[in-house]
Every structure is written in C-alpha cells, then in structure tokens.
Amino acid sequence: MTQPQAHIRVRNLTLQYGEKLIQKNLNFDVNKNDIFIIMGASGCGKSTLLKHMIGLYHPAQGQIFVNDKSLWDVSDVARQRMMKHFGVTYQAGALISSLTLSENVGMPLELYTQLSPKEIEELASLKLSMVGLAGFEDYYPSEISGGMIKRAALARAIALDPEILFFDEPSAGLDPISASLLDDLILELSDSMKSTIVIVTHELASIFSIGTNTVFLDTDTQTMLATGHPNQLLADCDNASVQQFLRRGGVENA
C-alpha cells in the first residue's frame, strides 16, 4: 500500500473559548480523499474543532497544516485564499435568509469568479439539481423544509468545487432514510469530485457506512481518546468510552 498523503495535519492543538478550555493535545492527520469523522458526545467540542480547522477561530495553542502550510503562520490574505478551497456547511444550515436558494449557492461564485450572472445562475441550478433540489431555485430558506435546508447548504458548500468539504452534522434531525440518502450523496460527491471530507456526526450508521478515518473527542478528559478507521477502533481500541460510544444501541459491527 502506498503511504497516504496527509491533507490536513493537526498538531498539539488546544481549543479554548477565552479562559474556558474545551479540548487539548489534539494530534491527528486527515489524509487525501478521506472521509474523516469527528465524533464524541454532545458538547465535547466537535463544532469547535471544526471551526478551528476551517480557520474561523484562532487556536489557543498548536498548529493546523493544510497541504503542509500552517493555517495561522501565513498572512490574512493567504489564509483567505486557503479558505477558498474549503466548502463548509454549518450545524444550523446558515443559509442567508434574505437570498433565494439560487442566490445563496451563487454567492461564492459571484465573489470568487468572473462568471456572468446568467452563468452563475446556470451553475447554481446544476448544484441544486445535484442535491435533488431542481426547481427550487427561487425559494427562500424560510419556505423549504429542514432537510432541504441541509441539502441546499450542501449545494452552497460545493459551489466552488472545493478541495476539502467540512460538514457539521449534515444529517442530524433527518429521518433515517433521508439521512442515509444524504450520506450516499456525500459519498458520491466525494468520490466523483475527489475531495477530502471532514464530517462532525454522532450517527453510528454514518460513521460505519462512510467513515474512513475518525477522531474521538472526550468531554471528561478534554482530549482525544483515539483516531483511526472506525472498524479498526471497534476491533482494537481498548478505551471503554470509545467502545461504549461505538457499541451503543447494540450495534453489531464487530
């Protein structure tokens, strides 16, 4: 097997809100074309870690390297350029409420490319049809369902064909069938667009069906307990919290 290439490397990362410590000593690699899952109990700092990885918050300590370039040792302009290659969906959707879906998806294109309004509209329609929202171009976020918002957010995230996609709980709040359809969609997109994907989730089904690599964050010790392929963790990891998390509900994967 060839040595996988690290796309994102996290080294000695400490996450804090002001004085409040959330997580410390985080060390892990996200390889190229990984579907990397950040898991852990509610409130352990998964969203916080994600927001640090996309360069939204400055880490209290430690480094994040994307393509071997440190996210925080470069100028603001250079970081902005790096962030352009990220596509992100947030836990609550975060679509701009005063813009239609088509405008929401077209916004990054408008900002970062020289395309004409008509071309932008065309691409936005394409992205919306990829997530199954053909025909909903002129709807406002308040006029569509929660699951549709999640998918529209996905369409916005892939607008610029990003190298790395970050999803914060993409399938939370969806029924199991829609959730697994969304998982399939993510899998399909990552495979065909050859992008690396980082997902925050605690859906066991997603973790085992699409995850190729994971990190497990713990609330009590405020650090990571394990990293690796989910099946491998299930088989080899002897940490009780990790086992409990992965086996809850009597899942028979082992």
Binding site: I96, S116, G135, S142
Partner: protein, 376 residues
Amino acid sequence: MTEEVVTFHRHKQDTLRVLIKGDWSISFGLQNPEHFLSHLTSSPETQYVVIDASQLGVWDSSLISYLVTLNGLSKAQNIEVDVTGLPEGIVRLIALAEAVPEREGVAKQLVKLNPVDSLGQFVIQTFHQFTAFITFLGEALLALGRLVRAKAVFRRQDLVIFLVDTGPSSLGIVTLISVLIGMILAFVGAVQLEKFGASIYVASLVGLAMAREMAPMMTAIIMAGRTGAAYAAQLGSMQVNEEIDALKTMGISPVDYLVLPRLLALIFMMPLLTIYANMMGVFGGALVSIIMLDVTWSMYLEQMMATVPLTHFFIGLVKSLIFGVLVALSGCYMGMNSGRSASAVGQAATSAVVMGIVLIIVFDSLVTIVTTVFGI
C-alpha cells in the same frame, strides 16, 4: 481562452462526435452550447452523440454543467448520448444531477404586473395591513383585559428588564435632548421678546411649550427610535427562529407573553420620562435666560408658575401615556408581523420607527385641534 476545448467531428453520417480537450475551470467561464445545437440542427439525420474525453485535462463543474446541458438538448430531440468514454467521476456527477428531476409545479412562476394590477395589489395590501393592525389592537386590548383579571401569562422579570431598559437606561438621551430643546426655545423667544422688553416671558414660553408639546413629543420620538425599533427587532428575530410558534404551541398567547410586558413598560415609563423631560427643558431654558437676560432663578421659576396653568402639564402627561401605547404597539406589531429573514427584521425595525413617529404626530395634531375647539 486560448484554444478550443470542444470540437465536433463526424465520421459517420448519423453520429456526432464531441471531442473534449484541455483544462476546464469555472475561472475560464462556461462553454456556450450553441455550437453543439447548430451541429445538431444542421444535420437532422444525427441519431447518436458520442462524447470523447481522451484528451481531457483537469476539470470541474464547468464541464459538468456543459455536459448536462448537452444531455438535455439531445434528449429533447430523442438523440442518444454515449458517455462511456468519460471518466467515471464525471459520469456519476451527471447521473447525480439528473437523478431527481424537477417536480411539476414546484418552480415559482414569476408574474409581471401591469400598473393597474400593481396599484390594485397595493390597495389590497394596505387594506390588509390596516385590518391586521386593528386586529392586533383588539388583541392587545383583550390581553390588557386578561391582565386586569390577573389571567395574563408573562414573566415578571421580563417586565422589570423592560422597565429598566425604557426608563433609567434612556435618561441620558432624554436629558440631552430636553435640555437642548429648552435652550433652543429660550433662545428663539429671547430674541423676539427682548425687543418688547418682555424678556421675563421667556419663562412662560419655555414652560408652556415644554409642558404641553415638546416634552411629551420629543420623549415619544426618542422612545420610538430607541425602544420601538428594539421591540420590533426582538420580536422579528423571534419570529425568524420560530420562537413565537413555539410559544403558541405551549399554549401561551404571544400577545400576553411578549407584547404585554413591553406595552406596560412604556405605559408606565413614558409619563415619568415626560415629567423628567419637563424639568430638564425648564432647566435648559433657565440657563439661557440667566446667562443672556439678567433673570434670576427665582424670578424665572415664579414667572413660570404664575403664568403656566397646571392643566397644560396634565394634558402633556395624558398625551405622553398615549404616545407610549402607540410606540409600543407599532414596535410590537411590526415585530410580530415581520418576515422570516434577516433583512425582513431590519425592515420591521425601520417600519416600527416610521409608523411610531407618524402615529405620534397625527395623534398630537388631533389632540391640538380638539382641545382648541373646546378651548382647553
């Protein structure tokens, strides 16, 4: 673009070969499908389209977009498209884009209105707005009724917060504006009255104007800008987050829970603020008189007490109370009826201020006309 990235070839009569070459990126813009269409229409015997990507470089959505369009155009003419020559990723993305076709009737139809229609719509909308506001007024009244019967549900802490926010927290701006208004009145009056040697009447002028008009009106306008807008923004963003729906499902009347404490806070605080504004205005007027006109404090106050009957002051107080109701209602009404987007909340805040000020001035004119007719 330096060279053609798409070329068309025909080896067999019924087969159009689309050769895709080089690098495709959205930074180069999208390809126009017109050439393809003209190749199709120029030879109607075409039955197959074969896409050849053997010379394709790097690609992104611009290629997918182009291919999906080609596919659609060909399908419309019952022509088969062979995509087997394409890299697997592209085939799957195209399949993904076509997997869920547009459902009939979901797309929004944009209707163009002629001027008569849009005028009609405007009238209908205005009428709806009007009836909605009257309904809201009625609901607020009912809520007040429930309050009297001690059946209204709202948190007393909320009321305290709103009282603090409308009262003590707005003292600064009320002080500033009232003192300045008092000074302006005194200045303007002094210039005229001094010519007649009647400069002591500045005290009467400032006292009367403040008590009857300026103190209640200026305070109300300040509150419309400060508190009315805040109310609209608070309720509007609750509307956006479905918090108002949540209250309804918990069996709590949003009017009781949200509007009542805000309304009470303004009803209670407006008269107090107006009394305070009166004092500050008189103080401002006195300052100018003492500095400009050789009047002493006691002369000024005595003159004012002697010439300005207390009726004016009470009329001002009653007006301020009504102003408070108007400001609270327009703020809450706009907030409760806000649209569900960030910009709609902004609009609600703006409309609340505009509506508040318009109502204040209109009501004030009415009162002035009525009291003049009755000679009060």
